[in-house]
Amino acid sequence: MTALRAPLAAVTSGLDLQTSFTTTLQGIGLTPATAHLLWLPLPMLLVLVAAVVGVLVNVWLERKISAAVQQRIGPEYAGALGVLQPLADGLKLLFKEDIIPARADGLLFTLGPVLVLIPVILSWLVVPFGQHLLISDVGIGVFLWIALSSIQPIGLLMSGYASNNKYSLLGGLRAAAQSISYEIPLALAVLAVVMMSNSLSTIDIVNQQSGAGILSWNIWRQPVGFLIFWICALAECERLPFDLPEAEEELVAGYQTEYAGMKFALFYLGSYINLVLSALLVAVLYLGGWGFPIPVEWLAGALGQSVDAPVVQVITGSLGIVMTVLKAYLLVFIAILLRWTLPRVRIDQLLDLGWKFLLPIALVNLLVTAGLKLAFPAFFGG
């Protein structure tokens, strides 16, 4: 379950990393079982490293773009263009004193941030960077992500309660309420996409969009769903304009108020990993995932190359990773721009938007998608 998906033999015989890794180890004299055991943690570690590096890039972008929005320069001295600034931030948090407030509940206080972070990292299980480049092609795919993201509010409630501080408790309650309210339109938007691709698997969803390059991406067939999903994803990540749980002017910093050092860093990491994850999933669900705007098969055909040739395969694979990351970071850029240009909504506006606007729209979107699927099966995945 945890190994890179067993590739189709004929298609990627030259690029099966797992087989070549295990055969190399067996060449040294290890048993197949040991070689397999050594292989198992590698994809997971790779994804973990990718997620953390993604966060570092994200923090740097946040600083630079916010500076540009406010006509400042931003971090400049830590490395070229300040690229080492996120590392400095991380190290600072690492060396800070770990404080547990005197009347706080120590156990829950420690467990809260962990419970916030783990589901977010686990969700990377289903993010594909290429046809075979994901940790596990579980059949329930995006549903796993929706289910895992529903664990997060428990961690937020836990840290809000354990801090023994009214701002923290209010922030935790707000975070949980917001997360639950926006989960429903989010799931309905995903459901419309799933209905078109007849599968919950992220791989199948991307493959269904790969027919005619940019023209077959889901954003053209699901424009309303795309907007609903993006708004809900921002609300789930607690990004401005929906950062009510940590609204500085009202709640100090919400559930994070009492946290310092690595425990705070876990929240910080969790929120940024969640942002990158949401952007990746928007790219997968609506922007064709690893697909190039022009189908790679056409390009290879125009250049007179076979798609199955090893060199072409390497190029296609790298192009897939680059395209996924590019699309995701384009969305992250939009999210950062939104954060530094829009004011925060009020709590009643937030709930009105979620329950009275997005939910009915998402339901209508689902109905229209079902109708279109039955009426035009050729275009809407019959």
Partner: protein, 209 residues
Amino acid sequence: MTIASWTQWICFVALSAGVVIGSLGVVLLPNIVYSAFLLGGVFLSVAGLYLMLNASFVAAAQVLVYVGAVNVLILFAIMLVNKKETLAEIPGLPLRRLLSGGVCAGLFLLLLRVDVTTPWAVPGPSPVGNDATIRIGIHLFSDYLLPFELASVLLLMAMIGAIVLARRDVFTVDVITGEDVDQALIEKMRTPLLVETTPTQNPALEATR
């Protein structure tokens, strides 16, 4: 034993221990907040057991519904209704505890007997893996349609009940106290922060003017 079976065995033991110890904690801990959080842990462990039985859709649904909705709702209720209530002394508490303990022990022994006597190794239908989602959908909309619809009616009733309870303006008189119900927003402060002072009652303030 191979790596896979070892992993399975360890996971099974850990998850079962999580279910048993967690549910004991839910019942026995005096702090209700701990109980609620432990309940979440129990639900997660059960989801893990489903996952081990190749029922990934059911596992994810279990997490989504029980952990993400039910447990969060319970926590909300506990944290919003922060009412310190002194419970009245119950007469004959030791006898009651003894009786309920006896009933529970008897039930436990009965279940143990069932566990030992029943031949469990019955070959079930072959696992369908990822097609299970489709199978569940087909069943829900064919032979289990009535229970499915009844459950939705139940949920609708619960929702209407919650709205009626939350919207106090449908009652003009409080059911319990018989007083007129304040029909303003809940956020509104019921009592003014500062005690209202009139100039006649406060000569000191008068003097400063």
